[in-house]
Amino acid sequence: MEPAEIIQHSGGAIGAAWLMIALPLVGAAVLLLGGRRTDKFGHLLGVLMAVASFVVAALSFAQLLGFAPGERRRGIELYEFIPGLAKVGLLVDPLSISFCLLITFVGSLIHIYSIGYMAHDPNRRRFFAYLNLFVAAMLLLVLADNYVALFVGWEGVGLASYLLIGFWQHKPSAATAAKKAFIVNRVGDFGLLLGIFTIFATFHTLAFSDVLGNASKASSGTLTAIGLLLLVGACGKSAQLPLQSWLLDAMEGPTPVSALIHAATMVTAGVYLIVRSGPIFQGAETAQLVVTIVGVATLLAGAIIGTAKDDIKKALAGSTMSQIGYMVLAAGVGPVGYAFAIAHLITHGFFKADMFLGAGSVMHAMNDEVDMRKYGALRKVMPLTFWTFLIGYLAIIGFPLLSGYFTKDGIIEVAMEHNAILGWLAVIGAGITGFYMSRLVFMTFFGAKRWEPTAHPHESPAVMTVPLIVLSIGAIVLGWFLIMGNRFMTFLAPAVGAPEEMPAFHPFSVPGLATLALVAIGAAYAWMKYGRAEVPAVAPRGSFLTTFARRDLYGDALNEALFMRPGQWLTRLAVFFDNRGVDGLVNGLAAGIGGTSGRLRRVQTGFVRSYALSIFLGAAVLAGAWLVVGNL
């Protein structure tokens, strides 16, 4: 089934969809420009704007459901952005509205949670300003109806991410992590920009409707180039190999940021880009293949990194990488995978945000300690946090009937049909997921207390636990709700297309059973190592593989050896060349002229008679020359 035509729309909640972006943007502007005057109510305004944005999204969704499926792609014209290049409009369709609901709903919950989490931070107002800025940019990214506006949102979320990772600017590690995230993302943007240039050079337009509707007319070479360039952009934003290194460092930011930006929403933008540009990838098999390979490689790499981290947030970050790897894998498969990719994206948004916020709640209780070796036995003192975290955990490992069971297994099935090797690698990834997530839960909530003497853990206030409860409810029901009866695939079909034949859900297929078995083995092994046995307070040296995983698969070492060191060397060389070479040439020329005239001026002896002599000689030379020339 092909995507439906875009219908120009005005009126109703959809006509006012720009409010979704404008409201949080106004919030951010008021809080940033208002300065300390807004300290008192800053957090409330921030929450209000996020919730208001959610209300608009929900109303738009309701209105969209009122249309027949084939008429659910509504375009709204806003204004001419760059004359001759791009108009700015919004595209409200099943795909973008799904994102809007996820962003505004989870975003609102995280805003509320942050009231409690950031209660003692003197710059809480600024934090909410940045969060609002992020929500606005992210909504622009998904609502844009052309590649330029998408890029504006794309960089906007990058900026918000930069500001929020480095929120505690006085910490050099946070500032460095923020800068690293921005620069690595810029490498991705380099690819995305070139992709956009190629699109413009090919189609002379950047509007989704024109480009994607005519993609099949372009040569497959062009489409492959565009696809691969867009993939580079997606890799940067979604922390896929080989641009993954920033995500683990990004955990320097406050935990709500990690939950919202670096788990639930921003890092999934790459998946959105690939799914949105579906017609381009469908015309380029090579690009699709590369997408699936990147997805599988990342899902394994992320999972391996997750197994060795003692920092609870970094373990979760590895897991995020891995889960996004699944989504990218599904997105690379084509229309049959899109619905699963987005469904997993949504359920992941819920259960991962749930777990990140749970981890935040734990850190809040443990004086901001992140080392899981200093946790243990927390389930009794923090029951609410424990139970909600447990639900998130069961959802991610694919415990039957919870969210992950439906969406992740759906991806594995789709991948298996597409390419058996990729499918089985995804199954292995699921097994590792079972191990590292169980390890995390056992080290944190079970076993013996290994707390620092100063720690006095306590349950977090209601403003933090209520979002946890809401998110965990989502983690329980969403997978079932979206996948059963292909509900979500049918809903998305007008936007991204769908296979002729809807896939049926097999609860007891071979890959499904294999996945369950591997996950069970992984969990059991984790229980033996970290649940039943003592967890040493200092990490043992471990095997080569453990070190490999702990050092993030040597990604940073590789970047340093390949780019940073030669870069520094090149910089020094260029500065030297500029001062001594280019400028040296100029100054040398000047010095040469100066030196020559310094010598020449000695001719000016001050003796009138020597001047007279030179005049006579000059006259004689001239006269002689005249005679010679005249006689030629």
Binding site: G606, R609, L613
Partner: protein, 98 residues
């Protein structure tokens, strides 16, 4: 027939030139310059005669006027230098150099 005049003019000019180059006394140098100017005047008048028009004679008058003006300024400068430096030697007035 005018050759003799021209040879005389050239001789006078050469004498004046050598004088300017070798003498140190400013007054003498100055007189040598005058000699060169008059050598030129002689040449001008000669050519005027030879060509049968008045252009050369006209120029000679100009030169005389310029020479007169030059004498006024030149002597004034020489006298001033003599007053401050107690010397009329051109080599002593070599401060304006390099």
């Amino acid at each position: 027939m005018t050759t003799h005049y021209l040879v005389l003019s050239a001789l006078l000019f050469a004498i004046g030139g050598v004088g300017v180059l070798v003498r140190r006394n400013a007054i003498v140098v100055f007189m040598c310059v005058e000699l060169m100017l008059n050598a030129c005047n002689l040449a001008f008048v000669t050519f005027a005669r030879q060509n049968g028009n008045l252009d050369g004679q006209l120029i000679a008058f100009f030169v005389m006027i310029v020479a007169a003006a030059e004498v006024v300024i030149g002597l004034a400068i020489i006298v001033t230098i003599f007053r401050t430096r107690r010397s009329a030697s051109v080599d002593d007035a070599s401060l304006l150099k390099y």
